[in-house]
Assembly symmetry: C2
Homo-oligomer: 218 residues x 2
Amino acid sequence: MSKVRVHNMSVSLDGYGTGEGQTLDEPFGHAGHRLLGWALGTKTFQTQIHGGTGGSDGVDEAFAAKWGPGIGAEIMGRNKFGPQRGPWTDEEWKGWWGDDPVFHTPVIVLTHHPRPMLEMEGGTTFYFVDGTPEEALAKAREVADGLDVRIGGGPTTVNEFLKADLIDHMHIAVTPIILGRGVNLWEGLEGLEDRFDIEVVSSPSGATHLTFERRPRD
Amino acid sequence: MSKVRVHNMSVSLDGYGTGEGQTLDEPFGHAGHRLLGWALGTKTFQTQIHGGTGGSDGVDEAFAAKWGPGIGAEIMGRNKFGPQRGPWTDEEWKGWWGDDPVFHTPVIVLTHHPRPMLEMEGGTTFYFVDGTPEEALAKAREVADGLDVRIGGGPTTVNEFLKADLIDHMHIAVTPIILGRGVNLWEGLEGLEDRFDIEVVSSPSGATHLTFERRPRD
């Protein structure tokens, strides 16, 4: 069975995975780009995501690089797709990532307001699905061609999949800042550690990388 | 000027420094001893605090050992001193630490219900003080003989001293568990990182040690 994976999910020391007040200019609200500070300079982000060259190739890159290989589909929350809320008033919005998004796979966007699928350049197709985490995962597996499914965030979506116990592997990066408000990844997840084997390593960037590996289910 | 220091303050991934439901048997409430898991096996805890021998002597010990040297007085919250709340009904309670407490210095206990000082064996004297963090610190400096003052916790007390910007050096150990409830060390401290230089290192025990060094005040 293919795995369900989370990569590069960044949280503050107080557990917030995004800030308050998302807008077109500030996808992470008052958090700005601080949560991803460890990642932005890596080779993976510089080349695959920003289309440039170069980038760091140390501890942070070792984690960042695991984002793509083996992934056949992503599931994301609507707030990762865009800043709009409620019924779509403008279907011209096609995500933050331009005509050739970084995903290059099918992407399931969770929303209570479905709209027609959106085929982009480079292999990314957005499907808009109103359903439970289980239903979204079934749809993702249909289109993932036997490969793994990435839960791409934001924190609300990762939190929901953790509550539903659907995640097999999770990489979290803790950034030493106190956000104070936003969406807390850990809300309602008391005792989560009982289900996972956890390893921890810090990086010279100041981030701490944690891997959560789901223990065998009985 | 002597420094104000915090050592071995342990929090969960979601920021809780103690659990809910403190009792005589469970000083950390539902957290039990999990937050201090990284520390209990160290040489410092095994010898100085539990009066035994042996103990680990690696990364965790390097941090644990900094708890004592150079400290002339501790300030603690009443909930670190004991599980009682409200007016003292039984002044027989002399802390969790027996006749010869681990501190061996004066200790200021913050409480709205003062009681006579309590001189213990081994150099520990408890003073019960009703006052602001600034007033407690002034009293601690009076009795610290020019040495540093340790803010001993619990998390409510450390939080109050951080809000009052009275802390010069702070060692935090993050344990990879989700407590879900209790006292959150980071409550109301958005942007704390702006006042400190922070370093981070992980330990094979699973804990992540962070040091916060106060930047020069203008």
